[in-house]
């Protein structure tokens, strides 16, 4: 089976925006891959005027938040670096048991790469940053710049979401059949090695 790969457009975000952006993107992807019975839940972003959809599974939400926390910790250790988070969907195939192994095998049929460029703007205060002691410039130009930048990030995020929709629409044949009682396909969220 082919593994479809989707490289999402790179987003330039600030540290405090990572959580919201990642939640939005990851949940949107999972919602399109949670083909079991779901009760969609609309979530409004706080930083941007975007509403995304969750599949309403509490366990899933918790797992995604954990992974995002893990990612944020990694970013804090590697500031001002491009980073990537990978969401993969797989099928569990049991390997032919042998004397030496009885493992199951994961067959990845789809991978999503979320590309982030986490920046630390010297003029902007980051509440989670340990390294910066910033003096917030209360001037009008700083506010305008901030709002302009925010609008750009929002537009980029929208583009990414449209990209996800386009991808899931165009490529459907590789999606495995829906199992009874299963809400979403098995998945994993990782930080690629080359970025570690």
């Amino acid at each position: 089976m082919n593994c479809e790969v989707c490289q999402l457009k790179e987003l330039e975000v600030e540290h405090f925006e990572i959580r919201e952006v990642l939640r939005c993107i990851l949940h949107t992807i999972v919602f399109h891959r949670a083909l079991g019975l779901v009760r969609p839940k609309d979530v409004d972003l706080e930083l941007f005027e975007i509403t995304y959809v969750q599949c309403g599974d509490v366990e899933l939400e918790k797992k995604i938040d954990e992974k995002i926390d893990h990612f944020i910790s990694w970013v804090e250790k590697h500031p001002n670096k491009k980073s990537q988070i990978c969401l993969s969907f797989y099928e569990v195939k049991s390997k032919q048991p042998s004397w030496f192994t009885n493992k199951t095998e994961r067959l990845y049929w789809e991978q999503w790469y979320v590309n982030l460029n986490v920046t630390q703007h010297p003029k902007h205060h980051s509440s989670k940053s340990h390294h910066t002691k910033l003096i917030v410039d209360p001037g009008e130009s700083a506010t305008e710049e901030r709002s302009c930048r925010r609008a750009m990030v929002e537009a980029s995020l929208r583009e990414v979401l449209f990209q996800i929709i386009k991808f899931v629409n165009e490529k459907k044949d590789h999606v495995p059949p829906i199992s009874e009682g299963v809400i979403y396909f098995p998945y994993e969220i990782t930080i690629p090695r080359k970025f570690q």
């Binding site: 949107t28 919602f31 399109h32 083909l35 079991g36 019975l37 779901v38 009760r39 969609p40 609309d42 005027e49 975007i50 509403t51 995304y52 959809v53 929208r158 979401l161 449209f162 996800i164 929709i165 899931v168 629409n169 165009e170 459907k172 999606v175 059949p177 829906i178």
Partner: protein, 622 residues
């Protein structure tokens, strides 16, 4: 056989898909349906039940609006496209919606602009050549198609929240604000082509089709890329406007004059959707109906009257109460496009709006409802007029407990010979009626203490004589508001009362001075009043207003025969009446009240004389 079964399943998938898509779209675009659905969702969440319709495409959306069933019926031909237009109804920005409240004669807000901001087209195309797969392949095909349909629906659901119209929908769904626009929908099997100008601002997105052996299911959306051209803003909340002709509330003085202008107490000043009436206004209770014009559906007449009042009801054109705007809209659409639409389409357009009234829709203001009980009581509606002011300084003292209030100088003059009295009396006939109406409207909302007075109305109905009415009212009322009655009876008391000596200012018996027995009881009643006035005190202003209203309402029409002014019933009722409880809330001197009473009588006589009605005086009866 197998093929037939699979083909049937496929048709079922396509049919359910169309219904589901419609449900998704309406739930994300029509605020009224969204409110209904949201409430149901809250209920269903608590019960954790999944409906049969929710299981389709594994997407729990809650109950389908009833209109969907009708639409499904009308669009049951699967090969007809389903075109769903999301229309932005934009009323001309009118921050003077507030002004409309007070100047109903002012031109209403301009006609609403309707713009299609989104068009969803769901189509199931039949291929030219239909392959005939084997049984196993057909089964696999059906499942794959179903899976792909699920994915398509998911992406459509997500996309709905990313398009510009969603922001408008969210604004409208917020009940905290009201806006000068609304979102409605239209479902048809035919799409009216966009004009070039419209097309220039539109973008299109075509979802990847789901290909089946017997057809191809496709969804596309054409949408306006930006909605910044529209002045989509919340309606200005009512500014702190000083209402100079405010009719009255329980906290204001019931003796306040009523202006002769059309402002203020005009009961037909229906607040526009966004214009919340002043909270203190007695005639425009704030109503929280959440949608405006269309609300996405044509409500039936009864529904529109009883349930959700579309805003356009107050507009003299093009809508009226009898024809709900949505019906009108539907009809207009039919008139304009009937030549190009199929019959099914016309039906759809009429039915494009669910007939139900969502829970967010509150009750109609009673005076706009066709079944308004208050309105049925009055046969005429006129603007409130000024009740002539009392002329003598002495009289003004007794008009209100707070004589320093300049607004108190609006009561009828004590002396009927004053020019001021004459001038103002000309207006009072209609003014009385409108005042009655206004006060009745108020009284309908006033504390229950007034209800006694209205029940008394039945008793005194036949007693057209003012004094009889006055006494009968008070005698039959459980808690008569004598002072209020007295003030209103100024307009109706007879001249012969001038010579009466009042033992108490608002004693009922003062109207029966012609009756010797009444004179004997006056002293008693005066003492009763003295005893009880302290009890009542300033208990209820609106109770006093209610009494005045009652008095005015039970006053005989000016054109009635003089036989209506018989005092026989008065006597009977008075004699059978109970002891008077002077419930007026303000202590006054008897003499002052008497003067006031006389002035009312004179006023009444003057009015009657002008209308040509013979005034039956008690002296004549004697």
């Amino acid at each position: 056989m197998e093929m037939d079964r699979e083909s049937g399943k496929l048709e079922q998938i396509v049919s359910q898909f169309r219904s589901k898509i419609l449900h998704v779209i309406l739930d994300s675009r029509v605020p009224s349906l969204h409110h209904h659905h949201h409430q149901q969702q809250q209920e269903s969440l608590s019960h954790s039940r999944v409906r049969k319709t929710d299981k389709w495409f594994n997407l729990v959306l809650g109950d389908r609006p009833p209109a969907l069933e009708n639409l499904n019926f009308s669009l049951r031909n699967l090969f007809d496209p389903m075109v769903i237009d999301i229309i932005l109804v934009h009323r001309g920005s009118c921050s003077s919606s507030v002004d409309n409240l007070y100047s109903p004669s002012a031109p209403a807000a301009g006609p609403a602009d309707e713009t299609v901001i989104e068009r969803w087209v769901v189509q199931y195309d039949c291929p030219r050549f239909i392959a005939t797969p084997s049984g196993a392949d057909a089964c696999v095909s059906y499942k794959k198609i179903y899976k792909k349909s699920i994915i398509l629906l998911r992406s459509l659901y997500t996309q709905m929240r990313l398009l510009p119209a969603y922001r408008i929908f969210k604004q409208l769904s917020s009940l905290s604000q009201t806006y000068n626009f609304d979102l409605v929908y239209k479902v048809s099997s035919f799409s009216h082509p966009f004009s070039r100008e419209e097309e220039s601002g539109m973008k299109e997105y075509i979802f990847a089709p789901v290909e089946a052996l017997s057809g191809c299911l496709s969804v596309s959306v054409t949408y306006r890329a930006t909605l910044s051209d529209f002045n989509l803003e919340p309606l200005v909340s009512l500014p702190p406007k000083i209402i100079t002709d405010y009719v009255g509330s329980p906290t204001t003085d019931p003796m306040r004059s009523f202006p002769s202008s059309d402002k203020g107490a005009h009961a037909t000043s229906f607040p526009l959707r966004g214009a919340r009436p002043p909270s203190s206004s007695p005639f425009q209770r704030p109503h929280s109906w959440s949608s405006g014009f269309h609300r996405g559906f044509p409500s039936t007449k009864t529904q529109s009257l009883a349930g959700s009042p579309p805003v356009y009801r107050i507009s003299p054109k093009p809508y009226d109460i009898a024809s709900p705007p949505t019906d009108l809209y539907g009809n207009r659409i039919q008139n304009q496009r009937v030549s190009t639409l199929q019959q099914v389409t016309a039906y759809d357009e009429y039915k494009s709006s669910p007939p139900f009234s969502p829970s967010a829709s509150p009750s109609t203001p009673s005076y706009l409802s066709g079944t308004n009980p208050l309105r049925t009581r009055h046969c005429s509606e006129t603007a409130p007029v000024t009740i002539p002011l009392p002329l003598t300084g002495r009289s003004t003292r007794y008009l209100s407990p707070n004589s320093s209030d300049p607004s108190r100088h609006s009561l009828p003059p004590l002396s009927p010979r004053s020019s001021k009295h004459d001038a103002s009396s000309q207006e009072s006939p209609s003014g009385i009626r409108s005042y009655r109406k206004i006060e009745a409207l108020r009284a309908g909302e006033s504390p229950s203490g007034l209800s006694n007075n209205y029940s008394a109305q039945k008793v005194v109905r036949d007693s057209k004589d003012d004094s009889g009415r006055f006494s009968a009212l008070l005698s039959s009322s459980g808690s008569p508001r004598i002072g209020f009655s007295r003030s209103s009876s100024r307009l109706s008391f007879q001249d012969d009362m001038d010579d009466c000596e009042f033992s108490c200012p608002f004693d009922v018996d003062d109207v029966d001075v012609s009756d010797s027995s009444s004179q004997n009881t006056e002293g008693k009643k005066a003492s009763e009043f003295t005893a009880q006035s302290n009890l009542v005190g300033k208990k209820s202003h609106d109770a006093a207003v209610g009494i005045l209203v009652h008095m005015l309402r039970t006053a005989p029409p000016l054109r009635q025969d003089s036989s209506c002014y018989s005092t026989h019933s008065l006597r009977t009722e008075y004699e059978g009446g109970v002891s008077i409880a002077s419930g007026f809330f303000m202590p006054r001197k008897t003499a002052d009240a008497l003067e006031e009473l006389n002035s009312y009588r004179e006023m009444k006589d003057l009015l009657l004389s002008k209308s040509g009605t013979r005034v039956v005086r008690k002296e004549e009866i004697k």
